[in-house]
């Protein structure tokens, strides 16, 4: 009833957001200074070749027509063909999307529970050794760029210090991302170390506020065990405000980790985006921009719904 209506309303808003993003992406890629035909065919290409290229990819059509063709393609699951080899985009991006989603999923699975644990424990031990140590180390980690962090891990675990894990990941085309779990370890570790400090600091702040509330004191005065006070009384109230930050970090792991992907040679969409931008492969750039926006919209929607579900005051307002 109520919750379904809310989800539908938020979804409609998400679709609207994506529409606006699509306009921006399309117009910006039109406004790029370099001509894709010249970039792909090279400087020496004849006028005829260029004209043929433009006709082949519909670049000679009016802008409105180009836009509607593109959107239709997106919606029907055929987002166009690559400029560089003329193949449908999905043929070579499909695997990369799977890889990136797997990285996002595994990264979230590790870093979110870890952040909850670290943040809550730090809040419980506020101003004691664990909290102080965690506060310093998480600040250092948050301040360190990922390529430094990743390179440091590679030196530590993949060279002659401890040569335990491979420095790069090898997923053969057509194989699922979990075919090289050993290679996944260092990229995942890098992501976890990059994301956990942010999320755990937010969890800590939220938890501290809840632990100082009257209802937590009341729980203790009712003689409830500390375990019950923490997990039943404090956690549900502390977690709601942290969902938004979690959502941002999850989405970040899917689309924004070019540096980590390039460091470990991970075949994900970050690297694909980098290559496409370099080659002025506009259809790929446009598609990936839309895909990453889609991930952000979905994770934010999930965060909104999650917040409502754990907050009775918001939930009961719906019905």
């Amino acid at each position: 009833m109520g919750i379904l209506k809310l989800v539908l309303r938020r979804l409609a808003l998400g679709v609207l957001t994506l529409f606006v993003v699509s306009l921006a992406v399309f117009l910006l890629s039109q406004a790029l200074p370099s001509d894709p035909a010249r970039a792909v065919l090279g400087r020496e290409a004849t006028e005829e070749n260029v004209a043929a290229f433009r006709a082949q990819y519909g670049l000679d059509q009016p802008m409105i027509k180009q836009y509607t063709t593109w959107i239709k393609g997106l919606l029907s699951g055929e987002p166009g063909v690559s400029y560089s080899n003329g193949e449908p985009i999905m043929d070579f991006l499909g695997d990369r999307i799977k890889n990136s989603l797997f990285l996002m999923f595994m990264g979230s699975l590790i870093s979110i529970p870890l952040s909850l644990l670290i943040g809550s424990y730090a809040a419980l031990r506020r101003d004691k050794t664990f909290d102080n140590a965690n506060s310093v180390s998480s600040l250092i980690l948050a301040a360190m760029p990922e390529f430094v962090l990743g390179a440091f891990l590679v030196v530590l675990f993949a060279t002659n210090v401890w040569n335990i894990f491979p420095a790069t990941i090898r997923i053969r085309p057509g194989e699922p991302p979990w075919s090289d779990m050993k290679g996944m370890i260092l990229p995942l570790l890098t992501l976890t170390l990059a994301v956990t400090p942010y999320v755990s600091r937010v969890v800590r702040a939220s938890m501290i506020e809840v632990l100082e509330s009257d209802y937590v004191e009341m729980g203790r005065l009712k003689g409830l065990p500390e375990r019950t006070v923490l997990w039943r009384h404090a956690m549900p109230n502390a977690i709601g405000p942290t969902f938004q930050v979690m959502a941002l970090n999850v989405a970040y792991m899917a689309g924004g980790v070019v540096v980590v992907e390039s460091l470990f040679n991970f075949p994900g969409i970050g690297l694909a985006m980098r290559d496409a931008v370099r080659d002025v492969n506009i259809p790929v750039v446009q598609f990936l921009a839309m895909f990453i926006s889609f991930i952000y919209v979905i994770t934010n929607l999930a965060a909104d719904i999650g917040t409502i579900l754990v907050t009775p005051r918001l939930r009961t307002r719906l019905s």
Binding site: D214, E217, M218, G219, L221, P225, N237, T311
Partner: protein
């Protein structure tokens, strides 16, 4: 009585952790089975700290350092954390001050009651525990059907929330219950029902109750015995009647003289100064600094507790001495200038709050030189109405006339002179003064707005500070260096400095302790007499009206229910609503007469 003492506190000392400064010291109290002990004191006196200690609990930064607490002969303070947990919530329970903050917003109320029973192993089966939940809901006069138990705290009214708090406290049939100002913030009718429930349950189930409060009228109605706390020590304790009729300690006498009573037309008497904070307490009697009977002996050592009569103990060298306290000033004789127009006329005012009408066709006058009290429970529309008068609220229709001139809807559309001639004093003196301006700057500000020179303004400000019984030396201080009462005096000085036609006071004493409240009321009475002030005094506190107002307007659901001279409305109310309001207001005089 010692054989049936249920709660026995001896020589309790509680310190600020790590400093050795006492918050509470030498507290010895006994509560027999089925009795209610009222623990009274100003904010900061340590009464809540004692209440929490009865559950073996100390807040962060606070440590129970010595003494003993026994419940039914079982010592509490020496227990392990695990043993203490087993006792809390079953043997000894707590009802907190603000139920809207102390019920968990994420859990259903049924769950919150049931979990106490589960963790303390009440009964032998889940079925039995569920039945007990239903039973205890009936005991606190709440519905016990499944739908109600599945509600969340925010789906209940304030009174219902506090009843859930009581249900949690009584669920395991405790021997001792600590109630910490459980009715603060509730309307008088709700308060009276909650108090009746507390009284019945304690008597029926033989529970010993420690009732912590600053409200003497509640204590007079509920408690069998009263202990008065000042600066962390019990200065007097005895049967309720003796404390009110035959107070021995000068502080107790001041407390009772400061408490407004609905059934007494004696003016309240205030007392200046404040209780010394932990770490700043003198070697001798802590009250010596404010006491009119002080001797050298008082300054040297804290008097020991000694009996006056059986059961009536006092810690004072001068116990029982001193004259009866009399008001410092004569009451206001109101000039009746029927010639001059009323200072403020409110004509058929309707006001809405975001489209929802909350004030309906209100009409009344504030005659020149008189104080009109606008009385109503929370949600009656009194604040919306006064904000409309001040031009702070814009959604209103009708006419508001100041000195016979109609006012524009918003203060922005009113000429400066008109704005200056309606002045406001707000409820909370802790947030209504600019923290980065000195007192002198704040008070002279309205004059500067009116166009006075800096010299004139600061001169007038100094004069006004003297008027509100502060010295001109206060002009260079900042608000955080002042007590709550001093801040409210500054706010009054700021309001009066440009000689307004009408002074609007919105719940100006509700954030203050009773002695400070009485002193502010005395000040307002004096100012009204000397300056011929016209005042609109907004309050939910009916007894207070008596000391101050010549006229009363009773507001309910946004409508004027009854209006007239104070004496008539408070003693011979014509409307049923007013009669009920008066009946629900706890009265010291009535409670003592009933015994």
């Amino acid at each position: 009585m010692s054989e049936h003492v249920t709660l026995d506190i001896r020589d309790l000392r509680i310190e600020v952790d790590g400093t050795g400064n006492d918050i509470v010291d030498e507290v010895t109290l006994q509560v027999p089975r089925g009795q209610v002990l009222g623990l009274v004191g100003e904010s900061g006196s340590g009464k809540t700290t004692v209440g929490l200690a009865v559950l073996g609990h100390a807040r962060k930064g606070v440590a129970i350092s010595s003494g003993s607490i026994e419940i039914n002969g079982r010592a509490l303070l020496s227990r392990s954390a695990k043993d203490l947990r087993a006792m809390r919530g079953s043997l000894v329970t707590y009802v907190p001050q603000d139920p809207s903050m102390s019920l968990n917003p994420a859990l259903r109320i049924g769950t919150q009651i049931l979990e106490v029973l589960e963790h303390h192993g009440f009964g032998s089966s889940q079925q039995e525990r569920r039945e007990r939940v239903e039973q205890v809901m009936t005991e606190v006069a709440l519905p016990n059907d499944r739908d109600f138990l599945r509600r969340y705290p925010h789906q209940l009214s304030g009174g219902q929330q506090q009843r859930v708090g009581l249900a949690m406290a009584f669920a395991c049939r405790p021997a001792v219950i600590v109630l910490d100002e459980p009715t603060t913030g509730l309307d008088v009718s709700t308060q009276s029902h909650v108090l009746a429930t507390v009284r019945d349950l304690c008597h029926q189930h033989g529970v010993a109750a420690l009732y912590v409060t600053h409200d003497l009228a509640v204590v007079a109605n509920l408690a069998d015995r009263v202990a008065v706390m000042y600066a962390g020590r019990i200065v007097e304790q005895g049967p309720t009647k003796a404390i009110f009729d035959n107070a021995q300690h000068p502080y107790t006498r001041h407390l009772t003289a400061a408490a407004p009573d609905i059934n007494s037309d004696e003016p309240v008497i205030g007392l200046r100064g404040r209780a010394p904070a932990p770490g700043k307490r003198p070697a001798g009697c802590a009250f010596a600094l404010r006491c009119e009977l002080v001797t050298d002996e008082c300054r040297e050592q804290f008097p020991v507790e000694r009996p006056v009569l059986r059961d009536h103990l006092v810690r004072c060298f001068q116990a029982g001495r001193g004259e009866r306290l009399t008001p410092a000033q004569t009451p206001v004789s109101v000039r009746r200038d029927s010639e001059s127009a009323p200072a403020l006329q409110i004509r058929h005012v309707d006001a809405a709050y975001t489209g929802h009408q909350v004030v309906h066709d209100v009409t009344f006058d504030v005659p020149r030189g008189q104080c009109v009290a606008l009385v109503g429970e929370s949600g009656s529309g009194k604040t919306t109405l006064t904000r409309s008068v001040g031009g702070l609220h814009r959604e209103w229709n009708g006419e508001i006339l100041l000195d016979g001139v109609a006012l524009a809807r918003s203060s922005r559309d009113r000429p400066t002179a008109q704005r200056l001639s309606i002045q406001y004093v707000f409820q909370n003196p802790y947030s209504s003064l600019h923290p980065r301006r000195t007192v002198g700057e704040s008070v002279s500000r309205p004059l500067r707005v009116a166009g006075a020179s800096a010299r004139e303004a600061s001169h007038a400000a100094a004069e006004m500070l003297e008027r509100v019984s502060l010295t001109a030396a206060y002009a260079s201080r900042y608000p955080d260096q002042l007590s709550g009462g001093e801040r409210q005096r500054v706010a009054i000085a700021r309001a009066l400095v440009c000689k307004p036609s009408v002074l609007v006071c919105d719940e100006v004493t509700s954030a203050l302790d009773v002695l400070v409240q009485a002193a502010v009321v005395e000040l307002l009475v004096g100012l009204q007499r000397d300056l011929g002030l016209s005042m609109l005094f907004v309050t939910h506190n009916l007894p207070l009206v008596r000391s101050l107002a010549q006229q009363v307007v009773v507001l309910a659901d946004g409508k004027v229910v009854e209006a007239g001279p104070t004496e008539q409305v408070l003693t011979r109310p014509e409307q049923e609503y007013t009669q009920r309001l008066l009946a629900d207001t706890p009265s010291i005089a009535a409670a003592l007469a009933a015994d």
